[in-house]
Subunit: 650 residues, 2 copies
């Protein structure tokens, strides 16, 4: 029963929904103070037990009168009534209004006996008379004018709020009007979270010096997602794949919680252990669901709680949680799905599928020039954490769907109800000046995938802007017709409209004080030095390639021959700082990088040249608000940003 | 400076927005634990300080190999490699992969030196050989397959999250991957709330036996709205209109908070006191804004905090808060406006305006048969608390707008981001059986405005259903052609489709054991008894009117004559239980009502007849989900509801 092959017999997603729906996650109702009731859900119906207001009252400052005494009064022909007293809010009237009499009254005060209307103060004046004070009334009022009858707002016995009502500011207002200070509400499901995996370390603690440990991501992502779904997350210690420990933790959590989630382990052995614990101490309802990602999902129950096992990769775990578990938690809490939980979008690009399994495709969102939402697939492999912040949600692709066309309508289930498309989306070269510039924008998204990828995506029309490097100064016409493809692309008018550009100094980053006395590219070719390059999408690498080609021309040899002589030319790393950090760590003698990076990390620098960084805008999006904000930021802060960094100039 | 006339010089709404924007509400940034960071806003940009993952790792369970050793391997022609060890997640490898060798590896484990790819376990098998264990590889892999390089997720030095990023589950995942457990976030603005008015009592405390006191509504409504806007509300004690006390409270709040709100007082005198305190201890920027409601708004500052005075009526206070103050709190907290803060709708009816002042019109929402949102004005006078729950938000009507046409598009600013249109909207007779029925529906809204108003609105096409009373059994044709207008209406097929009906017993509710020995209507006419009627919109009152007409016919006199002889016939109260409650309180000898109400309140009952309650559906909305839910509830629970009440039958 517990061997891995079981997982090949996958349940349809619909069965997983049914299995989770069959679990009981609902906690007991509870009573909370009115001040803590916002966002909660009424457990029972609420009828008014008193009239609101409890008495007939004035709804204006003015004078309480018998309406018939004012008949015919107007500005030209006012009536004068005897002023016989006053009533303030909060006190019982000690005076009665007789014929020809008026009582001064403030808003909210009890209507004195005998009065049936209020004349607002603006239409009156005091008059001194021999026989006492009078009040001049310059308008006629009808019975009931500027008064509010007892129970007019809500009357005793009336249905005030139904069971299941979510309490927002307005319902809290009604409850307070009724004098309610304790509110019976649906309980909040307690959700225990157990991350499994010997390699996990809690954030805030140091990782071991030996390789192999990573920080726990799922405990925190899932805890936040549980809160978003209306549950109360409880973090338990990590469990390895020891049976006794796992059993103890799972049972402890199941006694304390309405639902236990395990997540974090991607290894079959830990899943096997959980599997065995549930089989012996609870009931396993389902294992393995025909959905990508999320195949290794488990659904079961312990005597005191429900259980769901989530896949280990963060994006997969959050995706499966949102698709299968969050609805059950909301249901148990009595909460509706948030209105912003899904958005309609159109595919920005086409997408093809091979597999006959339901697919939950991580999807990024971008708004087009008309404010319409476009969706594009984000796929870094589900092991990546950052695709969490590069993607906004998930599109469910049916097993029979082999193809999503560009422009096709899709529904995107957002990772959180508060997720929204970025104000502006850029793709391209990883650059420190650009990175600082982005700080002044409101919710930008920038994917530092390199100049080449930036230009490719800009041509496909997905991002708002691309950032690409090229020659610092325009080449002569002769060189411009050369074969440096990505450089030619960056200057092709069809690719984008140049919004701004600046120049950055590049070269070799070396240890402090350049202990190997590296003077230039030739040293990498001629000497036995460990070099670290950037990836092929990086514009900086293209610039280095051009420099190698120039050196080859000079030496009358081939570029290929020189490249073969550089130890590590093919050893690429992801981020612009990564080669420098390898140099700082002593695992390389030189790395490709920028002067600003060398200065930032207190390393040595051997300058090799300058290149121009260009910010190119999607021509259709020039009037999009986020692009205009980017343009304004470039106008106002680019000079300041460049002054704060070394080796850059306009 | 402090006389009331100042308020006649009203500022344009735009100036009020500017004055509030000029106040500084922003608290200092703070540091919170990762587990408390959800919903908060990053105070500064976050660059990765480490590679994630920190090492090259396997992304599948399987065998780490040199890719070139697998070239050519397939199901038909597998390759066998020597198994030289294993690596588990969380441990540093103690083995190297040489040519022709493989190491067993679990997902997430460090790639052993020498290996450059992983073969997934499904494409392998163990083989026992004389020279030790081997592994059969049935597929070729390329370098990098099923591995994730160090920093592939996010690399040290890369920009991870920008300042101003709102932290949802996904950003919390990224922060935990980076090992961050304390997050620098924007502070939460503290907002002090002072309700003014001597008449106010805190919910949970008894009201005085003397008339005049009411429960404080604004403190709680505004506190909830402050939370919704991202602020931290602090409730201060009530203030009367004593200068010293008001000064002490305002200064205390201003020292402890970023913003002080006063609300609750509608009387000019308390506003005058606040006015004087601000003038002497702070600075008054603006008083009185040309917007309805909300004219008496004050904007100012104390040395340590900002100040805004809200109008006193709950709907006005919440409306002004949402329009003017909430945006400033969100801005100070760094939060965007919620995506659900406004909805687009079409006017369900036309609406005319007289005044040349900007108007914030309380608006209810209902969905039509196509799921489109319709808006209708809700106007009970801003003193009403229940219009808070009858309205969903506010439409801003420009001073120049004299007319909103039916079907015209409007933008509705919701009272809370969580507000949504009711699943079904009904208007009509107030009835206990119906009220119980509604409990089984998901978020219904029912406005108990009486049969007549229900039918009128149903004809206007706004609600989904109306509830109206009429004769218990169809009258003879002769009677049906009579002049009982509202009864004829209820049977007009054009008004609505009858979904269900039931019969309720009505009569006179009298004190227990009927001390006055009332036997019927004739006693009210002939004796000096204090009677309480229902309002003219009530179907029950129409039924009573018909019975009086019958009695008049019998006595060969006019209906008018009999009505004149009933003390209190014109004394109407709002809710169906109100007459009974007056009887119970001893302020009336008999009240119009239902047998079920008399039984519920342990009162006596003198039966006068039966009437039929009809549930009539808007013919266009029969297929709306909420209406179908209502129909299903009527089918399944009506009988049970009727069995639980006295004096009703199908």
């Amino acid at each position: 029963m517990t061997d891995r092959k079981e997982f090949r017999d996958l349940a349809e997603p619909e069965r997983a929904h049914e299995a989770i729906a069959s679990l009981d996650l609902s906690p007991e109702p509870e009573s909370v103070a009115l001040t803590e009731a916002r966002g909660r859900v009424l457990a029972e119906r609420f009828d008014a037990e008193r009239d609101v207001p409890g008495f007939d009252r004035a709804s204006m400052d003015g004078f309480a009168v018998k309406a018939r005494d004012t008949f015919g009064a107007d500005e030209a022909d006012p009536t004068v009534l005897d002023l016989v007293g006053e009533v303030h809010a909060g006190t019982e009237p000690d005076v009665e209004v007789g014929e020809g009499e008026a009582v001064e009254i403030s808003t909210g005060a009890v209507m004195p006996p005998g009065a049936d209307a209020v004349v607002m103060v603006e239409r009156t004046d005091y008059v001194d008379r021999d026989d006492g004070t009078g009040v001049e009334i310059r308008t006629a009022v009808a019975p009931g004018d500027h008064t509010m009858l007892a129970g007019a707002d809500i009357a005793a016995g009336q249905r005030a709020l139904g069971p299941g009502t979510r309490l927002t500011a307005r319902e809290i207002g009604l409850l307070s009007a009724l004098g309610v200070d304790e509110v019976p509400v649906r309980g909040t499901p307690r959700v225990g979270i157990i991350s499994t995996g010997d390699e996990l370390v809690r954030p805030g603690n140091p990782l071991s010096d030996e390789a192999g440990q990573i920080y726990d991501v799922n405990s925190y992502t899932i805890a936040a997602a549980v809160e978003e779904a209306g549950g109360d997350p409880v973090l338990y210690p990590h469990a390895g794949d020891d049976y006794e420990e796992m059993e103890r933790l799972l049972l402890e959590a199941s006694e304390e919680c309405d639902l236990v989630l395990s997540s974090g382990s991607t290894s079959a052995s830990a899943v096997d252990v959980i599997y065995r614990v549930i089989e012996s101490r609870g009931e396993l309802l389902l294992h393995g669901v025909a959905v990508k990602p999320g195949k290794p999902m488990l659904i079961g129950r312990f005597p005191d709680s429900a259980y769901v096992g989530l896949p280990g990769y963060p994006v997969s775990a959050l995706t499966i949680f949102r698709a299968f578990v969050a609805p059950a938690i909301r249901e148990a809490a009595g909460l509706p799905a948030p209105a912003t939980a899904t958005v309609d979008a159109r595919m920005a690009t086409e997408e093809r599928y091979g597999e006959g399994r339901m697919r939950l495709m991580p999807t990024g969102l971008v708004e087009d020039e008309h404010g319409r939402t476009l969706a594009y697939p984000v796929d870094k492999g589900s092991g990546a954490t950052t695709s969490l912040v590069e993607a906004d949600g998930v599109v469910t692709v049916h097993p029979d769907t082999a193809y999503l066309a560009e422009g096709e309508e899709v529904s995107v289930r957002l990772f959180s109800p508060d997720v929204r498309p970025p104000s502006v989306l850029g793709v391209g070269e990883d650059d420190p000046a650009l990175s600082r510039l982005l700080d002044s924008l409101d919710s930008p998204r920038y994917l530092p995938f390199g100049s080449r990828e930036g230009l490719r995506r800009l041509r496909n029309g997905v991002p708002d802007f691309a950032v690409a490097t090229g020659e610092a100064e325009p080449r002569s016409d002769e060189r411009a017709s050369g074969d440096a493809a990505s450089d030619a692309e960056s200057r092709s008018p069809s690719t984008g409209t140049e919004l701004a550009s600046y120049v950055r100094e590049w070269g070799l980053i070396v240890p402090p004080d350049n202990p190997d006395d590296i003077e230039g590219l030739a040293d990498l070719v001629d000497r036995d030095l460990r070099f670290i390059n950037r990836g092929t999408n990086s514009g900086l690498r293209t610039t280095l390639g051009n420099a190698v080609a120039d050196l080859a021309e000079e030496r009358e040899t081939t570029r290929h021959e020189l490249v073969e002589s550089i130890t590590g030319f093919e050893l690429t790393v992801k981020a612009h700082e990564s080669p420098a950090r390898k140099v700082a760590a002593g695992t390389a003698d030189a790395g490709l990088g920028l002067r600003s990076t060398a200065d930032e990390l207190d390393l040595g620098f051997v300058p090799l040249g300058e290149e121009r960084v260009r910010i190119l805008v999607n021509p259709n999006r020039e009037e999009k608000a986020g692009v205009e904000e980017l343009a304004a930021a470039l106008d106002s802060t680019l000079v300041g940003v460049l002054e704060g960094l070394s080796g850059v100039r306009p």
